[in-house]
Structures are given as structure tokens and as C-alpha cells.
Symmetry: C2
Subunit: 376 residues, 2 copies
């Protein structure tokens, strides 16, 4: 896995780069659509590639472990084969589920015991086990097993949690470095910086993570309810410590404004359920601003969903038709809105990349954020 830094913005820390994987090259900054259970909800694989322009997608270790399960994934030849996506895949480690499923899990030094959210059965996740699972899933980028603490966390909890995440990281690295990929292409581990919103913990964690010298690094524990200013402050601090010659991945972020601001701070990779989850509720991100398509004002607006985007869903279907579908709870509504919102997110990072390469990123960002975030 090779990361080439192509351009750095003169007026911010934004960068354009290229990350080469066993399943093709990713142009950064990039947004990664979330495919939790081996499917980006409501989107065909062909649409991901041809309409949305996705370059890498996410899977989730916890969810894939439960369904379809490791035996099936292994026999299929890994998740790429199983789901029919031949581009790069990154898998979340299940660390986020330690946070989001906090009422059905128990954390110990050894790892995390879950109760399955499907059938209540017992699940034991250890750093070693999670590496083995991600080997079988076959992701190109494997995330370390971490604890994502809630916001707010008191200092002592945040410190202990961070230290546990660091100890787990050592175990992840040891396991991964002593095992081989199953399917013939390389799999690289990204460790995760934690430390909640405490500057000294974040600094300590970023230094520790940087010292591990892996192919890329991630910032976790943000976008869990803290104010945007806190997110930016921590991201800036951490990006200042993580090495410049490795890609930086900010987990679970965010709105279009969050993404542009964090690109300006030096982040290269993003993922978020927002474009797909909000799509299913009729909230659209467009090149003109934010639309709640359920509103009466779109009822007889027969213009395309977003004339600023050229993909099929955004340019072929009208706002009035999409409103009708979402109102009528027709599946096609979620399908159209999902393809549209993801196309917008990929357009957004593509534009950011072009602006970085042209040396105009900072001015463009200031100009475009008010447009993108206004409610239409």
C-alpha cells in the first residue's frame, strides 16, 4: 500500500494524494460510502461504481461476523467476491459498536463481550480475534480494535480507555504481523487515535499511534455528540502530530461543512452514514443547499433533484416525483435519494481535490460552505 502526496494547499493543511491498494488506487481526499452489512443500503453495486463514483467502501466487522458469518465469507473468497464489489474495502473493527451498543456489551482487559443485537447470543471480541475476522472478511484496510468512549467522558475514564486502546493496538499489530492474508492481496492496519476531547490525551495518543509506523492512521472518538468546534480543535491537534506522508482517516464525519473543514485540517479519508440515512428520511444534500423533500414546497417542482450533478438519479428524476415516493413510503424514494446523496458527497470531495490541486481550496471552501449548508 503506497500513499503519494501530490499537492498541499498553500493556505491550509489540505492535501491531495493517491493511495494504492490491492484493489485499485484511491484519489484523496475521499469519502467512503458505508456498507455496514455488505451492502450500501438501497444502492446497487453498479450504481456505486458508475453513478456515484465510489472509490472505496466500508464494511463492518461486527455486523458481517453475525451475518453472513465467517464461514460463508471465507468460502466466498472474502467480502469483495461475496458482495460483488471489486474496489478497495475498509472494515470498521467493531470498536464503534462498543460505543453504539453500550447496553449489550461488557469491556474487560481481554476484549469485549457482546450480546448479539439479532438473537442475543454471546459474542467475544478480542483484538486478536478481530484481526482474524478482518483477515477473513478480506478488507484492504483493517481497523484496529479500539474503545470509542462516549461524549462527554470524564478525564479518568478517557485516559484509561485510551490506554486500553493502546494496549489492544499492540496486540492487534502482533496478531496481524504474524498472520498472512487469505486471498493473495495485502491488508494494512490503520491504528486509531483516541483520548476524547482532552488535548493532552489526544497528543499522547497521536504520538503513540504515529510511532507505530503503519500504512495509515485514523482519528476515532469524534462525531459522537461533541460540538463541531471541539471536533475541529482535536482534529487539528492530531493532524499536526500524525505523519504527513501517511493518509489520515477521520472516522464517522460528517456534514458537508464538517468534511471541508477537516480536509482543511489535513484529513484525507472520511466515512459517515449521514448521506444514506438522511436520504431514507428525505433529507437531501445538493449543490444548491439542503432540501427536506417532504416539504410542501417541492410538491410541484418538476425540476431535476440537482441540476448541478450529472448522475442518473440527480438529473433524471424530479423533486416532485421524489417527494411523492418518499411521502408514499415507496422504496424507490430511498433508492433515488441514496444514490443522489452519495453522488453529492463524492462530488464534494472530488471538487475539494480539484481545488487543492489548483491552489484555490481555501477561498473555495469559504465561498461554498454557506451555499451547501443553507436550507432551501
Amino acid at each position: 500500500m503506497q500513499f503519494t502526496l501530490e499537492t498541499t494547499d498553500p493556505k491550509s493543511r489540505a492535501r491531495a494524494g493517491r493511495l494504492t491498494t490491492g484493489h485499485g488506487t484511491i484519489e484523496t481526499p475521499i469519502f467512503m460510502p458505508v456498507g455496514t452489512a455488505g451492502t450500501v443500503k438501497a444502492v446497487h453495486q453498479r450504481e456505486l461504481r458508475q453513478d456515484i463514483g465510489a472509490q472505496i467502501i466500508l464494511g463492518n466487522t461486527y455486523h458481517l461476523y453475525l451475518r453472513p458469518g465467517l464461514d460463508t465469507l471465507y468460502k466466498a473468497g472474502g467480502l469483495h467476491q461475496f458482495g460483488g464489489w471489486d474496489g478497495p474495502i475498509l472494515t470498521d473493527s467493531g470498536g464503534y459498536q462498543v460505543f453504539s451498543l453500550s447496553d449489550i456489551r461488557k469491556i474487560t482487559e481481554e476484549g469485549v463481550k457482546f450480546r448479539s443485537h439479532i438473537d442475543g447470543s454471546k459474542i467475544d471480541f478480542t483484538p486478536e480475534g478481530v484481526m482474524d475476522i478482518q483477515r477473513i472478511i478480506g478488507a484492504d484496510i483493517i481497523m484496529a480494535f479500539d474503545e470509542c468512549p462516549p461524549y462527554p467522558s470524564d478525564y479518568e475514564y478517557a485516559r484509561k480507555s485510551m490506554e486500553l486502546t493502546h494496549r489492544w493496538l499492540k496486540r492487534c499489530i502482533e496478531r496481524l504481523d504474524s498472520t498472512e492474508p487469505h486471498y493473495g492481496y495485502e491488508q494494512q492496519l490503520f491504528p486509531i487515535v483516541q483520548g476524547s476531547t482532552y488535548s493532552d490525551l489526544r497528543q499522547q495518543s497521536a504520538e503513540f499511534i504515529a510511532s507505530q509506523n503503519r500504512a495509515g492512521n485514523a482519528i476515532g472518538g469524534l462525531s459522537v455528540g461533541e460540538p463541531a468546534e471541539e471536533m475541529y480543535r482535536i482534529t487539528e491537534l492530531v493532524c499536526g502530530i500524525l505523519p504527513a506522508d501517511k493518509p489520515r482517516y477521520l472516522m464517522g464525519v460528517g456534514t458537508p461543512a464538517n468534511i471541508l473543514e477537516c480536509i482543511a485540517l489535513g484529513v484525507d479519508m472520511f466515512d459517515c452514514v449521514m448521506p444514506t440515512r438522511n436520504a431514507r428520511n428525505g433529507m437531501l444534500f445538493t449543490t444548491q443547499g439542503i432540501i427536506n423533500i417532504r416539504n410542501e414546497k417541492w410538491k410541484q417542482d418538476f425540476s431535476p433533484i440537482d441540476p448541478g450533478l450529472s448522475n442518473y438519479a440527480s438529473s433524471f428524476y424530479t423533486k416532485a416525483y421524489l417527494r411523492h415516493l418518499i411521502h408514499s413510503k415507496e422504496m424507490l424514494g430511498a433508492q433515488i435519494a441514496s444514490v443522489h446523496n452519495l453522488s453529492f458527497y463524492l462530488w464534494l470531495v472530488g471538487q475539494a481535490r480539484e481545488q487543492i490541486k489548483a491552489g484555490t481550496f481555501s477561498a473555495w471552501k469559504e465561498r461554498i460552505i454557506p451555499t451547501l449548508m443553507q436550507r432551501l
Copy 2:
């Protein structure tokens, strides 16, 4: 609207023909995907055309009247424009809802009063009103407003219901013939034969319908719970009376075997929710037989859903992946299965057409039905 009979099978009453509409030509026999509320559930318009090979789709007067409503449809320029389907459209009149919503409607000589299934508001459907609505929807083929009686119906109920349907037909014709289309292309009325399972009523109704000399004729009131043998008996009787030089449309039918048997009896057009509804439950019609994709046996079957079909959904995705999606209640499961099942139905009628033109339909039908209807 012109119907050209191309070939008649020497050993049955099956026919191949071409029906020309203001939105293109339909090759018969044909299956029409059901798009009740202006969307074929879970299927993009592009997929209907390019993957499924749909030539004409259905809309439903009752549902479209409620949502998006006539004002929106009229301002959009009709349903073709509103939904982005530029091929022919046929609209059900709401007569089927007189049957399916029997607990929230009241029939009088004047028409039918419904309570909206959405908000309980009052809806008055008369033959004249239903013609006006279908003018606004802009269907190429407009169905007469009828009463679809339940099965079984006693003789007196069936007779009175049929006579009411005939009186309503006269009113439909009078209204349609005294109004103009709104959007510049012709709209043709298909009257509907009723009479339940009573041979003398069906004969009387078919003769009355035939005498109206419209562009095409329909057989209603079947596929409402009667045995298949009854459906075939009535279809044969009615097809023997309806003119050979007009297309014959059997409403709401059916399984692959039902369709082939009724093609053999002289039917040219079919619609049914079965391929899409069953798809959402994981029941697949394939060129090899019927698959319940939820079954354990498909869990690790990494072969394409149907190697006998060339469309994207059937050939790209595997049985194991589709099973995973349906099990996990992921929308993409319904999407894939719907495109697949509709592709199969269009393949089926396309094959039937080729066999009719080759003079080999009857032997082919006998050979293929056991394969198509076996449970795999």
C-alpha cells in the same frame, strides 16, 4: 392504436402481434409490470427499460388519485412526465379496489364511495369521473370502471354486478368519446368482461363487450381465489367470443404456468403483482424453477441467481448474497429480486412469442411448465 396479428399458433389459440400506441409499439404476448403508485416497487425506470425489457407498465387510478393527486399529475403533463417513463402506460380504473377494499367502500348505481385507505377521507368514483381522472393521468390504455365481484359470488349477485358493470361501461364510453386527451396522444378504452365463474353470464358479458368495438378488450374478475381450472375454462370461453383482431388482456394473472396456459387460450396481455410482491419475500421465479432464497440450501451457493438470464441483477449477484440481503432485511435484496423476477416474466413472454412465431409454442409450453414450476 393499431393491433396487428402476426402469427397464430397452429396447435393452440396463441397469437403473436404488435400493438402500436402513442408511446411506442408493444410486442405481444406481453407482461406488464405493475406500478401502482407511479413506481414499479424497488425498480428504477432505467432498469425497467434496459434490464427488464418492459414495454408497457401499469398505474392505478385509485392510488394515483390519492397520491400525488390530479393537480400535480396535470401540471406535470401526465404520469409519463411525472414518473419519467416514456413507454406506454395502462391504468387500472379502481375497479379492482372495489374488490380489494371492500370493507371501506359502498357501491350504488351512481358509482362507488370509498374511504381513503390513507386518511379516511371520502372519495366518490363514478364511471364519468374515473374517465376524467384517467384522461388526466394520461394513460395510453384506459380501463373501464367496473365492479370486480369476489369469488365465490352467488349467481344473482354475479348477474346484477355484471349488469351494473355493463351500464357503467356505456357511461364510460359516452364520457370518453365526448372528451379529448390532454396531452396530444390518443387514449383508448378497454372494456372489461365480468360474470364471475358462470358460463352463461360470461358469454353474455363477452358478447356485450365485443359489441362495443373498442381498440382492445379485457377479462376481469379472475385470479381472485378461484381454482386455476375455473380460470382457464372462463378464459377459453371468453377468448372464443372476443374478436380475434383486437388485443385481449387478462387482468391480474398470474404464475408462469397461468400465463403460458392463457397465452395458449388466446390472451395477449397480462399484469400481476406476483413477480414484485414475491420478490420482496424472497421467492424467485427462474428459468430452472422456483427458489425460496431464504432457505438454508442457498446460504453458500455462489452461483448467479439465474444463469439463464442475461440481465445485470440475475447474472451479476449470487444466490448466497441475495439470501444474505433478504435475511438481513436489506433493501437491496428486494431491489435485486424485483429486477430479477420481472426480467424472468419478460423473458417468459418473449420466449412464448418466439415459439409462437416459430410454430413450436404448444410443444414448448408442455415441456417448459414442469421445469418452471418445480421448487428447487
